[in-house]
Symmetry: D2
Subunit: 504 residues, 4 copies
């Protein structure tokens, strides 16, 4: 039940593929996609292409569930999509005209096989497979309730809560059961589900997590981002709306809005870091927003310098924006290696003192003797930033000016972003000047919250009704945090139940 | 959810380890063992030793759940116990003073990771892990009922039914919940379960499947056979009785008999083939019973011959009995290879015509020119027998007389033995003379049912109240067969539900 | 002797890691590095860091040989350096104060374990391990001669020829034997060798392949590129000179120039594509040369356009140069995926027609409606270019103008670059206008040979004594091509001998 | 060059397959077989069957070289034949009408991939692959000589010496070169070699190691033992004679005896332990010899006892012989597990004190209260014997009388048997009474040397001209021991050269 992964590799080996000591970014836990009505036996291959394009959202594990007439075929794997689902025997292994898929990091639940999605349940109406991107803020509350009623959980994934809610619904029809379950969960989510005859997509009431609808010939496609539509060869139809449930079956596509209308508040971090630059999220080009973040930063924190250098790859669009707005030349001052290198032993001399990072190498030719503006998309703990700054100085930079294309990160997330605790967030614990000193830079600047809203095409943040989910910058959480309230209410016993689930 | 095994090897590769084209024996699906009160951090290693000794009962997969204070550590693996649990890091990986383990073939449920035991559930009172040897005759009935109530099954193993029954029991105490579950299941079973504080053992009301109790220093041990006690270094205390529930915790050992008293009917096939010859099952030496089977056979089917040759290794004790009773010399006329060899390509010439088996090689030196009495423990389909007979003749035997140390097998089993369908059982479809011709032997003899009862130390079978489970020879099933009754009652829709569980 | 790789994976699986259908670049076969005089037990870890930084020169396989006092430890692996040598047990597995390493693609010799370097021989003076970057132009000639004298080859690598020449030298001292061997080989090479007491480095008489010398504390370091020095934490001392042999032992570093002085002719393709942008090769920043190539291209082939878009990652510096020289904005119009994706099944509809490449995704936001200048470092067969052009047009580009930052590639290489045969080189078989049509672009331009020499800091190519190796552009090979002469002389029987070496 | 096995598993994992702490037998290093003239594309599959049957002679690694017209296909693997060559893709991977194969333990050379046979060399006349069973007594002498002449060795296997001698022969024809090489080697050997057009078999001048000739349809077959002929489906033709070279090509079979005639002295240990009981070696049934050894033992060391118990499986035939000769009943008093179990952690209590062996389990039912005669084929160090004796006593034996079916082992072997050094041979260091005490038995008996010769069908040992190789019992080595003479002559420097070959 536990640690089947032992059969393959000791988990510590697997970890090495996914943890990156040179990477201080928050991580998104998941990407989802699905297709319904594909040519016979192509659904799993189409979903594999979509998952391939979504791996920046989670590359630790992946799974596909296909439906061939009424039979389900499900596979879940540790590792990259290409290794798991790249083989030419996929259509034979996983036949069907409909399929859903999932690729993941691990927030809630650890990185074990039993937590890989799509999760499957065999209901009395037939099977259902669900893939979920996001996080439920009342997961522990619901899980404890369900266990008390005799449900047996096989994972620590919040997706399984949804399955149990569906299984226990007293409604007759699967769509009604699905909506029953949605009515009880809170948080951010984009769901794709497959039954014997239907594909269902759903987005949380605020549209925190993204989900788009596309068409591929006669088939319907759902995916976390438009870049997946592109790779599948599908055309973009529209965003799934916040609070919308989409049901696709042989009668066509049906849109249901089972809950009262509210204003949308999509997550800003999708623009800052998570979504791929070539995706269009909620109608905005991610690349365009990032360039405008850099432009805003140039306006808010100008500096007299010789070169603008991005932290590759995430800082590139903002650095281009900064360079174009400031007129300072953009140069590849840091080279990123595409080979994994974190587990190397560091010899005692030389290497360590020089702060050489395995992933990023300074390009002395464009740095030596220069005043450098270093642009990153965000600064979380600051651990990578200081290594980069030292490397840039060691390569001869005369001055180093660090710019973050997003505002200071001050608060943790509960909607599916894997971020350190508050006491590890540098901006939450230090003054601007302390940060400047800690990061060993000549000057430091963060884009303002209003600057970020402007890059999004707004005139600024509407404090009365904020247009986006932005609590990591503002502390303004868009939903209740039931589990957290209970925990802080002293009922910390709740956590104990789960502690049984040892991850051997 | 399905086919996690894809990560390791394609399942077809795994199969090759376990299917043996040269082996026509029925297969037993499982062995169980457990220890409670072991020295700190030794429980999993002790259980590993026990499982190692029980692999003749199932070598396809194995699992252990240990309890360290109140934390569970569970691992389940495809493959042999030595590979899975032989490592010196086991106590570190799976600490604890109590543990239960399971080794298996696959009857109900296919050979997939999700079906490997012990199965674990996280109840609101804490975790419970269960290992099960046997088969429930009302499994489908209970599973459909539970799914209808909203339970989600992760496996097709009947052990999971027991877990769900425990989870849904309204009783407060875990032992009462466990007995609640036992009250609803029918069939043959030996169960070992581990909770945070207790080890529970249980044997079905007729004692069809075996279970013994032992002591290892201050610790209590449960195991399917005494050979496991020997390997663990434990001393035999007694058989767990039919219908008995044993609860072991810090207050000591408690015996509960929750159901009305009935006469025991242990399974005869444990003596014929399954149990290891050095085990003592229900007070009888397996080796001794088998030798007496051979002696009885010599009395019932004497023949004028030169050598008695066993089919190794299962026919050896009966052949020794036959030889000693008949005075005909016992010789190793067939050599068994201990290397797997079934997947070899057969070249076009030579090999095939000569019917050479990869596993058994005739020993020409003791066969050539001789009249051979060939002894096997049982004959199921007859497919291996005919190959052996041909090989023995090709090695120069003048006559071949085949003797089965057990009666003709006429009926399928529903209590945990993996046997072919009735239409493949040679004795159920052919007359004795037809069989003799098909098997290409000069004479053929099967021990009588009464002869077998005599080898068991009885004066014969008591038709009014048979002392043993013997339906495969007699058609006299010792319990109701609920699933089969429903299926034959035309409600064959029941099977369909499970057919969703495709085994990719 | 063959195909040991079968034990691990069928070779076809391995191939998938290294062949990239979306990549039309020539490939370099190798990188080498070594260290002498490292702190006890750190040499192998230092070399592992160096190899990690050299994987762009060959990522198919890697090997290290360390010397601990007089004992050699050698490991050779398929796959990436991080997987092979990233473990913390490396110093224990491969102790020593000196080590040499090698990372490779495969030109001569196929991609089999037996061809992985460093190659080792046990001479009567003791062991020697050699790593080689480059290619011998008289390899077949020498190999046949050696086989005729009774030498047994275990590989088809030209490095083994060098080992046999050393083994058969009649000189007493290892350095003299090494020079004896150099006297007989022709072609391009950078060699690092390790004996029990010495590290030897050597570069071919024209300095075709690069090799640099560095210092790491008290230790000496050799490496193909300066980027490896940076990653090891070493400081650059100087380039090893063309025709120079460097011997390092406990008496210090000795430079030997055993052959008559000639002018150097380093390989231009190191600047065009192979070396990492942050390396300084023969005194020139690779990044700087590439930017100047782009600037030259803007002068030679200006165009009225809206955006300059690089083919990532190799076209980025030239595109920045083009953009800065032309004033047209530089934009990330193509996003490169860092996940492997070539083996995916292409569904029948959608994907294929749209020419979607798994590796490169057009960024519609900056392409739609624009006149695009697409910059690549070179065009070999043109197969990838046309896919990219179509993808860019499918994303809405109004015009596509393709620019190659290097001249047309017209001739094959024999010095260690894996390039297609001449009949597959698009520029060798088509007129400029035919190419423009085939590549489906509005205009097409290649940097001139003189333009490339200018980017290198020369005033132009000196036809009488060309400053660089440039035969792929000019047909002017810098050395004799003995094997090719023999082959063309009709003695094609020579190749047959090797054909025995089947690569199962 | 070293430790390619690291790619697959750490070597320590591999070891566990081959070392058996419960097994105190000497080990034979190799089995060979070959076929010439098989139906197109069947040769490798036929050889795989033969190797499968020879794995008792070495199961650590195996290899096959096939010849398809003039192309060689060679694969060498760690692990069992079924895993390496059992796949249905074998004929496609390794096509050809001729093939040779090898299965091995490791005596000279360690257990590394580079030492796996058949070894291949690419001579100027074409390729040659050689498989070798035995050991050369002048290996170090020849290897040093060849290295001094510039030969490069890739292995530490003595088979490679033979290849280099062939490669350096000045003769024109391959058979003459082969005989040239034979003229220089000393020791025990059975060789099968394959060139583009011929298969060659050879046996050492004394016929120490066995080799038989068979026919399979129109094809010729060579194999170490007749059991391999049986499994391949071939018929036995004759033993290859001592000192005979057999050459098979399209002109048919040719027998050459290139060296002066001497009397044969086949190795007795083939009968005592190595050969499979169903093989006929040099005209004698191995099973028959072993039974007669037991009969002789019963005559030489009779005892009043209740049961004769073999140590399975090697002691079974002798135990049957003892039982039949003595009239004491034969019983399976020890059960052998077919599952590997040596790496298990032994819990602190119970198990260890009781001396429970993982491989052998006493069968209490036939031992308790009995006087037991325990029969083993030989006693080497005595380490396993004492464990078995204790286990038998723990199971209740009243007396234990140990009998070895072969004489005391007093001297090491140099012809291919892996035996401990002399100081570990119990009989070489203890008196009979000391041994009896150490082994904790009531009486102890070893068959006499003359008794063994009688079991072989002789009237006794002819001391003037011993009929068999028997130095392990007598100290009478049948050949010069050149390497040993040199080593004892103080020139121990010779070993040092090889010490370079570290086995990482």
């Amino acid at each position: 039940m536990r640690s089947l992964s032992h059969m393959i590799h000791p988990p510590v080996v697997h970890r090495e593929h996914f943890r990156d000591a040179d990477d201080d970014h928050p991580r998104l836990e998941c990407g989802v996609c699905g297709v319904w009505g594909a040519p016979a036996d192509e659904a799993s291959a189409i979903v594999a292409l979509g998952l391939h394009a979504l791996q920046h959202r989670g590359q630790e594990a992946c799974g596909i569930a296909s439906v061939n007439q009424t039979r389900f075929h499900t596979e879940r794997h540790m590792g990259h999509v290409g290794e798991a689902f790249g083989g030419t025997d996929l259509p034979e292994r996983m036949p069907g005209t409909a399929a859903v898929g999932h690729t993941r990091y691990s927030t809630a639940g650890g990185s074990f096989l039993r937590n890989i999605q799509p999760m499957f349940a065999d209901l009395d109406q037939g099977g259902i497979a669900i893939g979920h991107n996001g996080n439920l803020t009342n997961f522990h509350f619901l899980r404890n309730q369900l266990v008390g009623e005799g449900s047996i959980f096989q994972s620590t994934s919040d997706s399984e809560v949804i399955l149990h809610l569906i299984a226990r619904s007293r409604k007759a029809k699967i769509v009604d059961r699905f909506i029953d379950a949605l009515a009880r969960i809170e948080g951010g989510y984009a769901l794709v589900a497959q039954t014997r005859t239907k594909m269902i997509g759903a987005r949380d009431p605020l549209g925190i997590r993204p989900l788009v609808l596309g068409q591929l010939g006669d088939a319907w496609v759902l995916a976390s981002e438009t870049c997946a539509l592109d790779t599948m060869g599908a055309t973009f139809v529209r965003d799934v709306e916040h609070g919308e449930v989409i049901v696709i079956d042989h009668e066509g596509l049906r849109s249901i809005k089972p809950f009262p209308a509210r204003a949308a508040r999509p997550c800003l971090f999708e623009y800052v870091y998570f979504s791929r630059p070539d995706s269009v999220v909620n109608g905005r080009s991610v690349y365009g927003v990032r360039k405008r973040m850099g432009e805003g930063l140039a306006r808010e924190f100008p500096i007299d310098a010789d070169v603008v250098v991005p932290v590759p790859d995430s800082g590139v669009p903002a650095a281009l924006g900064y360079a174009q707005a400031s007129g300072i030349p953009y140069e590849m001052g840091i080279i990123r290696s595409h080979y994994l290198g974190r587990t190397f032993i560091q010899p005692s001399q030389g290497a360590r003192q020089k702060g050489v990072a395995m992933k990023h190498s300074p390009n002395r030719a464009v740095i030596e003797g220069k005043r450098v503006v270093l642009i990153d998309d965000s600064i979380v703990r600051g651990t990578t930033s200081v290594k980069l700054v030292r490397a840039v100085r060691a390569a001869g930079a005369r001055e180093v000016h660090l710019r973050s294309a997003s505002p200071p990160i001050l608060w943790p997330d509960f909607y599916g972003i894997d971020m350190p605790e508050r006491d590890q967030l540098i901006a939450a614990n230090k003054t601007m000047e302390e940060m400047r000193e800690l990061l060993e830079v000549d000057s430091l600047g963060f884009l303002s919250v209003d600057g970020l809203y402007k890059a999004m095409g707004e005139t600024g943040r509407n404090a009365a009704a904020p247009q986006f989910t932005d609590h990591y910058f503002t502390g303004d959480y868009p939903t209740r945090l039931v589990d957290r309230e209970i925990e802080e209410g002293g009922r910390d016993a709740i956590g104990r139940q789960l502690s049984l689930l040892v991850t051997a």
